[in-house]
Symmetry: C2
Subunit: 332 residues, 2 copies
């Protein structure tokens, strides 16, 4: 079991790297939807448009460190890079199991590809089908849960919420009696008092509240859908697609997409801390217009951009801060 006092600080990583932001097809140097979440030093890939393996190489992320892949829906711009990535993992010697969460028809695609190549992957691939409309926890590792929730798009489409599970309380070192065994310390961290050396050690005296739990919500492709706010309530970072600007609201609705304004309205209604927008139509050479529009409604909005990494860090005062860096691009 995950034991929090054995977890080095490096394991408390929580960042999201954007690999692609273009809707439907390539353009203006933008790639197709794919993001890597690094949470507690484990890697999760979310969507996998064509060229995702190239973007991983470009930004120095080792594909074989990815534990799980989540595919929101089966439009090509969100998964056509998957077969190449799975194959390259095998060619590069992967043996560790890989978990793939996606809607069921993807399995038929994988089987057809494997039959065509007359070759199997050299590692176990566990396919976890998503049901249309599925809501709730679909993956859990110590310290983290991943929930699926339904988006509204032309075909079955899922959003994903990555949420740290509640953390243990923090020990106040100087109040701890010398020599207290670790089992008792762990009990205090859970908010239960213990007896040691004949004395009651009250958890209220010896611990501080836990560090806050961070969350990231990913809404790949969806029309503006207010009930979504409940699924992503209070997310520290909400990614919501913003394919069009508000002058094209009718087009957005007809194509199962949202405007930047609608993404911002959803973030506001959900009480999100920060919003990242992406999935820009190729009609926008520069998505700055979309950023302006969203910021007008919800100021803490950021543009998703290839090679941008969003960090959710816990401040010394136990708040959750968002910072952003640009990764250097290598020759892939």
């Amino acid at each position: 079991l995950f034991s929090s006092n054995l977890v080095p600080e490096a394991r408390m990583t929580f960042h999201i790297t954007i690999l692609g932001t273009s809707s439907a097809t390539f353009g203006h140097g933008r790639f197709l939807t794919a993001q890597v979440a690094n949470i507690h030093d484990r890697l999760y890939l979310v969507d996998c448009g064509e060229g995702t393996q190239l973007q991983l190489l470009k930004y120095g992320i080792n594909a074989n460190r990815i534990d799980r892949i989540f595919i929101s829906h089966l439009h090509g711009d969100h998964y056509y890079g998957l077969m190449g990535l799975l194959t390259s993992m095998s060619l590069k010697g992967r043996q560790a199991p890989l978990h793939l969460h996606a809607h069921a028809p993807l399995l038929d695609v994988l089987v057809a590809h494997q039959r065509a190549a007359q070759a199997a992957l050299q590692y176990p691939l566990h396919f976890h089908p998503l049901e249309p409309g599925q809501a709730g926890v679909i993956a859990a590792v110590p310290g983290l849960e991943v929930e699926a929730f339904p988006l509204r798009h032309g075909i079955p489409c899922s959003g994903f919420l990555f949420r740290e599970t509640p953390k243990p309380r923090r020990i106040i070192g100087e109040r701890l009696p010398q020599g207290m065994p670790s089992e008792l310390i762990e009990t205090l961290k859970l908010g239960q008092s213990v007896r040691f050396g004949g004395k009651l050690c009250a958890w209220e005296d010896m611990t501080l509240p836990p560090k806050p739990s961070r969350s990231y919500a990913f809404c790949s492709d969806t029309v503006y859908h207010p009930p979504l706010a409940e699924w992503v309530r209070g997310a520290d970072l909400l990614y919501h697609e913003a394919t069009y600007d508000s002058r094209l609201a009718d087009k957005a609705l007809a194509h199962g997409h949202s405007t930047a304004e609608q993404a911002a309205q959803l973030a506001m209604a959900a009480g999100a801390r920060h919003l990242a927008i992406g999935h820009y139509s190729v009609r926008y050479a520069d998505p700055a217009l979309l950023l302006e529009e969203a910021c007008g409604v919800f100021p803490p909005t950021w543009l998703a951009e290839e090679g941008k990494r969003f960090h959710l860090d816990i401040d010394p005062d136990m708040g959750i801060g968002l910072s952003c860096e640009r990764l250097p691009a290598k020759l892939p």
Copy 2:
């Protein structure tokens, strides 16, 4: 019918653009196998590794001008870019039919993808299955024939020969009687004498030999296989894979590939005019070693490289010359 005297000189284009040269996976900035042949101003795509649509954008080639796609075999590095390309063609308004020549299991892959997306392409896609071991003409348009021939690789694998059909003889303008109707001129060009104005006009007097017919042979993935020389005999440009250097000849054989030396031996045995090598293993940061090795056996060898275009042009003296240019890369 194709009438040579109506064909503007621009239509006599014959060039091959290299889009990808890497074996198995991306590396060192190299992409996966894909080439575009422009012959008589018609575009043919040969193989379609992941990222091919990105390379087409990068080198300014309009995907919707492609008439036919030929896929040599169903290993992912030769076709994982196909679904994205077909989808993007549709998104970009293609209505013209597209012909796809590939081994039969690819059809199951296409069907599985379309079922998953619940969407159809907006243009007719004609699938022409290749039989394992198939040899002979698989496509013909006026002035050009494309032949398939069998390569030796782990799964059914085809090479392709693009060959101009024999051209009509060239009229010697000053010897032509004034007012001769075009039907008679066409007859002379076919090497048949005609009567005009009561006089015999002998084809030998009024015509010169035809321009030479050019040919390009594509051997994607294969072990060294001497009988191949017969299929590609006299090719003006032979592309032959050269995954390894000769120190790794055993590995080449075991993996269904060739060394640079073997590619050159094949070119020599076939009496090819020029050889282009490609499909380099990622172990070679620079394929110059492979070029040296091939040139030692067959001096007119060229490196395939991303963005390189090989022109087969007819000289004023009616020889066939090869020239090479590097295309500028745009932001894709």
